[in-house]
């Protein structure tokens, strides 16, 4: 038996708990029936609400807490130093820690189907889609937890809340789309005519695949199994392709924005530690390309397809007339790309000069100043030239300003990240 599944069986299951859940659910349904007087409809809605509670809210909490508990009890290293495969560890931990909530969710789904007045096809669609939404939300919670743990090897309750919230919000957004979708035909994705619900279901299955793959790669990484970043590269490519199709034009800016958003997300989650960049430049200087592939951060890997896409975009958007940007839209894309690189430089510099616990707050503060306070101030003072110099706008000035800032930061950061940059020996403090 899977060790994590077995451990959770020992902890979660007792006859008492197995009997208690159906009794509580039965009481809830009976109360709702008494209050509404409409058994089938009330039961169906309550079952859906119970499913959201069990499979999304509670399960995401349990999954994010499971890793926090491992770190708190110092048991995670036991898992890492063993023979278990990343896949066994992943599904064992995932299913194991959410076992009891899936028990409740399954009971809710049975009642939902039994009380439904919809067709069999719609019921099957709802059932599969809701399970996918729940899996996606749970996967996101675990993904955020693992990514934050990878960054600084400490997990606190705040991280668990953040991971839980990310999982719940993403799942709720998707499940809302599922419940509001209609069984109609549409032509929105690359001008393909498709059934709306089929498209949603296929999209959900694909999202689940990526979130599972992401978790698998992060666990592999934590077990010291080398990762080359190919999965992230493929995911960015997929995001570019998937998002671009929604705008109906062959190369829409939506794909680019999605890829840039992913790069920003990874920059925040992964950070840009000078020690890692230094190790990377050292390996490049020694032509150790396998090691280079392992050490390259995801935000950097994502820039390769995004950069290629940017070139295509620049040459295909010149004559488009979109919103008020007209012909200068391509400058906006270029500036966005360059400002991202500037932000990487600033994050690297902050992580070099600040202690790890404070660097997150400093990075957040920097983003608030650059992207909220200063634009608001410059707009209020009608200093549009200055505004173009700090955030991406569809103008040449933005591109030049971003390039100048990028070069300045690269000049400052280079001594810390150049190959074989010397480190001072350890301070006499406990790590």
């Amino acid at each position: 038996m899977n060790p994590e599944l077995q451990r959770n069986f020992w902890l979660e299951y007792s006859l008492n708990r197995l009997l208690m859940l159906p009794i509580i659910l039965g009481m809830i349904f009976y109360i709702v029936y008494l209050l509404s007087g409409e058994l089938a409809q009330a039961a169906n809605l309550t079952a859906k609400a119970c499913f959201v509670f069990f499979a999304i809210i509670w399960a995401s909490r349990q999954l994010s807490d499971s890793l926090i508990e491992e770190v708190r009890q110092h048991t995670w290293d036991w898992q890492r130093i063993s023979s278990i495969s990343p896949w066994s560890l992943l599904w064992g931990k995932w299913l194991g820690s959410t076992l009891y909530s899936w028990y409740g969710a399954t009971l809710s789904l049975i009642i939902m189907i039994a009380s439904s007045s919809l067709s069999l096809q719609t019921n099957v669609y709802e059932l599969v889609a809701m399970i996918c939404c729940a899996l996606f939300g749970q996967g996101i919670a675990l993904l955020v937890c693992l990514q934050m743990f990878k960054r600084d090897r400490t997990l606190i309750r705040f991280h668990s809340h953040l991971a839980h919230l990310s999982g719940v919000i993403s799942a709720l957004v998707l499940i809302t789309i599922v419940w509001t979708s209609e069984n109609t035909w549409f032509e929105h994705w690359y001008n393909i005519e498709a059934n709306h619900q089929t498209f949603i279901l296929l999209s959900l299955c694909t999202f689940c695949f990526w979130v599972i793959l992401g978790n698998y790669r992060l666990i592999s990484d934590d077990l010291q199994i080398s990762n080359s970043g190919g999965a992230w590269f493929s995911f960015v490519l997929f995001s570019l392709f998937y998002s671009s199709g929604i705008m109906q034009t062959p190369f829409s800016g939506l794909g680019f924005f999605a890829a840039m958003a992913l790069s920003y997300l990874m920059l925040i989650l992964e950070g840009s530690k000078p020690s890692r960049l230094r190790q990377l430049t050292t390996e490049i200087s020694q032509n150790k390309w396998k090691k280079v592939a392992e050490l390259t951060p995801c935000w950097m890997i994502g820039l390769i397809p995004t950069g290629i896409y940017l070139v295509i975009l620049v040459f295909t958007t010149a004559e488009q007339d979109m919103l008020f940007f007209k012909q200068e839209l391509h400058f906006f894309y270029i500036a966005l790309f360059l400002f991202f690189l500037r932000d990487v430089g600033i994050v690297t510099w902050i992580q070099k000069t600040h202690k790890s616990k404070r660097s997150d707050a400093s990075i957040l503060l920097y983003f608030v100043i650059i992207y909220a306070l200063l634009p608001a101030l410059f707009t209020a003072l009608s200093l549009f030239g200055a505004l173009q110099a700090i955030i991406s706008t569809p103008s040449v000035i933005s591109c030049l300003a971003a390039a100048v800032q990028l070069l300045g930061l690269a000049f400052i950061s280079w001594p810390y990240i150049r190959p074989n940059a010397l480190m001072k020996p350890t301070d006499p403090t406990h790590h």
Binding site: R7, H74, D77, S275, Q351, P425, T426, H431
Partner: protein, 300 residues
């Protein structure tokens, strides 16, 4: 068993390990010593393939920890300074879970063998969270050795244990050594390592400060005491082929002696024949503290 070459490990703003190189023989028990923050825990974590070094190479039983980390994990048992126990599971369940993690089959005979070794046979159904510190320590060691690793890495294993528990721990380590296990034990309390370690490895500020085999030194240190100082003693000892590192302080002489018991008896006989006013001829037990001081002296 362990071969470390030019190992470096960087934290964000400091180098924790700097060009560390050493080799450890099979079936040895080595004391890893150094001040707090010297890099002992980082070194153990790199050796256990839990952390990837910035540069350098580690080979455990011929396996490269960076290229074959999962194979290395099967050969290594690691006990961190926090025991890391699932508090709500019983001893039996903790060990069962560990067996599943290593794919051990059949499970129960292995659990029985292990608890027999660590003295936990009567505690199988107690919850880990309800055990005393000494017993928790034993459970953690049981978890670390249940897959029969070739190498056991222990980080501050005896901290917080009472003298009785420490003595039991020493006996357990010697027993594991006799069964073929190699051990590297980190501590900054030297007295607790003295009972079982046969090698010492010292790191200071992330760098190798020295490595010695303790048992050889123990056998070699002799001390002579005369009733009155004698001028000829230095010349007499210097001529002897088995003697080195002579330190004469008034009527007392300390030196290293490489011969066997018969050679010692001949030396004593010779000294008496030469008319030395000898009243004491003893072997000096070199304490780990002395070796540590010697290594520190060499380093400075």
């Amino acid at each position: 068993m362990i071969n470390v070459h030019q190992l470096c490990f960087d934290y964000e703003n400091k180098r924790a390990l700097d060009q560390v190189s050493f080799k450890l023989p099979r079936q040895s028990i080595t004391a890893l010593v150094g001040a707090n923050g010297a890099g002992k825990t980082t070194l153990l974590r790199c050796l256990s393939a839990l952390e990837a070094p910035t540069s350098g190479q580690i080979r455990i039983d011929g396996l490269n920890t960076q290229e074959q980390p999962r194979q290395c994990h099967q050969k290594i048992g690691y006990l961190s300074d926090f025991f890391g126990l699932y508090e709500e599971l019983t001893v039996q369940q903790c060990l069962h879970h560990r067996c599943l993690l290593y794919g051990i089959d059949p499970i129960q005979p292995r659990i029985d063998e292990t608890v027999e070794l660590t003295g936990l046979s009567s505690r199988l159904h107690d919850r880990a969270g309800h055990l005393s510190r000494g017993l928790r320590q034993r459970l953690a060691i049981s978890q670390a050795i249940i897959h029969r690793p070739n190498l056991l890495l222990l980080d501050e294993p005896a901290s917080g244990l009472d003298p009785e528990a420490r003595h039991e721990l020493s006996k357990l380590f010697l027993l594991l050594q006799s069964q073929g296990m190699t051990m590297l034990v980190s501590s900054h309390i030297l007295s607790e390592l003295e009972d079982y370690c046969d090698h010492i490895l010292m790191i200071q500020d992330g760098q190798m400060a020295g490595q010695r085999q303790i048992t050889q030194l123990e056998q070699a240190q002799l001390c002579l005491q005369l009733t009155t100082p004698c001028q000829r003693l230095d010349a007499l000892l210097s001529q002897h082929e088995n003697i080195s590192d002579i330190h004469i302080d008034g009527s007392q002489a300390n030196f290293s002696f490489s011969g066997d018991l018969q050679a010692r008896q001949q030396l004593l006989q010779q000294l008496i024949q030469e008319g030395m006013p000898l009243y004491s001829f003893t072997e000096q037990q070199l304490k780990l503290q002395d070796v540590y001081s010697q290594l520190r002296g060499e380093q400075s």
